[in-house]
């Protein structure tokens, strides 16, 4: 009988499209987001034909400006460029595509910093309570910063910085962290974007809470024991397989293992590529684990700073 991880990996391998990518569901056209997640899940062994086909598709979707398109039908740079950059780091491919991707991410910023937006916020500060001077990353160029794309961009830039930090990257990471910290909800987690609108506190969501904490990567201003206990509570309570997968990934990053559930309580088998991939990606090996305050993490098994594949620097692009 296959283990849960083996079952997920088998399902992912079987769902690869002829073009080398993955759709959000088996049999659907390939998109960048599920393709990168599937490749991260299947990144070992690194010489598999499936990985090579996926890398070829990802490489073909790079745009001249440094971003990656979302899918064949969309010829615009997409937020999942963050994921493509992370994939390069995981595979140890620090080529010109990687450099352009990092530059694209470093230059990308939310629209809340624009003068007119800041004026509007100054006039009506209680409409949406946030600090417009600290900008994260948007889902789409020209729009405001939100939690999930900011978390993904931080993960990507942190992986990139692990091989030699540049001042621009470090500055952008610091600003993105401040944005996440500033948008934390009163209940200790993160909503999809804001903490307080029109005088009302917003509730946190499990998936964005997990992603924000992963993006903050052991930031010293977080009481990590409390935060991870909160994550574990959310993990036990949520019925969303995707939220549970991200919460477990967060616990894996900081505690070195995913929480376990009796088989009867587990999510049923899924054909959702995102859920299947996020459930089995080895986030503890992917994330470099910089700045982790180990003494602050109860029961932690801190991830090491080695990137898988880091001995393959200089290999050809995906």
């Amino acid at each position: 009988m296959l283990s849960r991880v083996e079952s997920r990996l088998t399902m992912l391998a079987a769902a690869q499209n002829g073009d080398g990518g993955w759709g959000y569901f088996p049999g659907k056209p390939s998109w960048l987001e599920p393709t990168v997640y599937a490749l991260l899940a299947l990144s070992e062994p690194s010489d598999s034909p499936a990985l090579a086909r996926g890398r070829r598709l990802v490489r073909s979707w790079e745009l001249p400006g440094g971003g990656w398109r979302a899918c064949a039908a969309v010829n615009e740079a997409h937020w999942a460029t963050s994921l493509a950059v992370t994939l390069h780091s995981v595979l140890g491919i620090y080529d010109s595509s990687f450099e352009r991707g990092v530059a694209w991410l470093t230059a990308s910023t939310g629209a809340e910093g624009r003068p007119l937006t800041r004026l509007a916020h100054w006039l009506r500060p209680a409409t949406v309570e946030f600090d417009p001077t600290v900008s994260g990353w948007p889902w789409q160029a020209g729009t405001s910063s939100w939690i999930e794309p900011t978390a993904h961009a931080l993960l990507a830039l942190r992986c990139a910085a692990a091989r030699g930090e540049q001042a621009a990257v470090a500055g952008r990471i610091a600003t993105g962290e401040r944005m996440l910290l500033e948008r934390r909800c009163r209940d200790g987690g993160w909503n999809y974007g804001n903490r307080r609108v029109l005088g009302a506190d917003l509730p946190s969501y499990p998936e964005t809470t997990a992603l924000a904490l992963m993006g903050l990567n052991g930031h010293p201003s977080i009481q990590w024991g409390d935060a991870l206990n909160h994550v574990e509570r959310m993990w036990r309570e949520t019925r969303s397989p995707l939220a549970r997968a991200w919460l477990a990934s967060c616990l894996l990053q900081y505690r070195g293992e995913r929480p376990g559930l009796p088989d009867a309580a587990r999510s049923p088998d899924t054909d959702d590529i995102l859920v299947a991939a996020v459930e089995v990606i080895a986030w503890d090996r992917i994330l470099p684990g910089l700045n982790l305050p180990g003494s602050n993490l109860p029961g932690s098994n801190l991830p090491g700073s080695n990137l898988p594949g880091s001995n393959r620097r200089g290999s050809v692009g995906p």
Binding site: Q140, G142, T143, Y205, E207
Partner: protein, 319 residues
């Protein structure tokens, strides 16, 4: 110093608000003829909702025979006990209605605006339990295949899910709610849920950047083959569409002209539809003026239930 800054903020803020309230887009004449809108009483979700929908469909002359129908509920988010989403009982009745009307294919599609796990939301909202063959019918529109549609306000175009674009009839099965940015959210604003989050994110901030009113009107223009069923059995008032309070209203409102349906809902809610920006912007596509809407079933006056409004929207209160 702080007092001066506060005065400046208050004065300029008030001026900006006044400008917004006064500089509404002009109200269009609407298309030719009149629009039929049916108002059906339903005191609770335990009543025979299929009967209500059948009567409403007949009153509006709804013809779905042989059509590929997309039912688009409002499932922007789920909070237990909160009247945020279209109730499962009404959505299930809508599926049965279109089966009886002879629709060739009935798909349920939604792209939730705040949470990514649409299947979980559908489960939590009771859709899986209430609707036969739900798994085979449901499409997560946030992650569907997309095609570009030229022209969307002044942005050049927008990508939309192929499931929605291929439908012969898009049925907006919305919930009657006030909205803290738009004044009200009804069948037209519910079309935001067809915009794919995989491209535009959670939330679909692009639509806010374009303008909520403009985006709602543009989506209505893109989906002219549409029909509206608004769940006003229990609506939401105050800080909608998520954090407001339940407001029992005891009606279902139906019609083929989404602007006319929403205008009727507004009048039931005690809101002047001619002061709602998205309805003014859509007023060349559908009917907003009272005299151009033929009410069938109950009269508005018999079911009027004023909804509480946020302070910022007191100016839309129907005189």
């Amino acid at each position: 110093m702080m007092a001066r800054r506060g005065f400046l903020q208050t004065a300029l803020g008030a001026a900006a608000s006044g400008t917004v309230a006064c500089q509404q887009p002009s109200l269009g004449p609407g298309p030719r003829g009149r629009a039929a809108v049916a108002i059906l009483r339903a005191a609770s979700y335990g009543e025979d909702l299929l009967d209500r929908l059948q009567r409403g469909a007949a009153a509006c002359g709804l013809d779905a025979r042989g059509k590929r129908v997309l039912l688009k509920p409002n499932l922007v988010e789920f909070v237990p006990g909160a009247p945020i989403h279209t109730e499962a009982a009404l959505l299930a009745a809508a599926v049965e209605l279109f089966e009886r009307l002879g629709a060739r294919e009935i798909t349920i599609g939604e792209g939730p605006g705040h949470r990514r796990d649409a299947w979980y939301l559908a489960e939590a909202a009771g859709y899986r339990a209430a609707i036969p063959r739900f798994e085979a019918r449901f499409v997560d529109l946030n992650r569907d295949d997309v095609a570009r549609v030229a022209g969307f306000a002044d942005t050049g175009g927008i990508y939309l899910p192929r499931t929605a674009l291929a439908a012969d009839l898009v049925v907006s099965v919305a919930r009657m709610k006030t909205h803290h940015w738009a004044g009200a959210t009804l069948s037209m604003k519910n079309l935001f849920g067809v915009v794919p989050g995989a491209l535009y994110g959670w939330p679909k901030n692009h639509l806010h950047q374009v303008g909520i009113g403009r985006s709602a009107a543009e989506l209505y223009r893109i989906f002219p083959r549409s029909f509206a069923i608004v769940d006003g059995i229990v609506g939401m008032e105050g800080n909608g569409p998520i954090q407001g309070h339940a407001r029992p209203c005891g009606v279902v409102v139906m019609g083929a002209d989404l602007a006319a349906v929403d205008a009727t809902c507004c009048r039931i809610m005690g809101i002047d539809p001619e002061k709602i920006e998205y309805l003014r912007l859509a007023s060349s596509l559908g009917h907003v003026r009272d005299e151009r809407i033929e009410q069938r079933g109950e009269a508005i006056a018999q079911v009027r239930t004023p909804f509480a409004l946020m302070p910022e929207f007191q100016y839309v209160r129907l005189a």
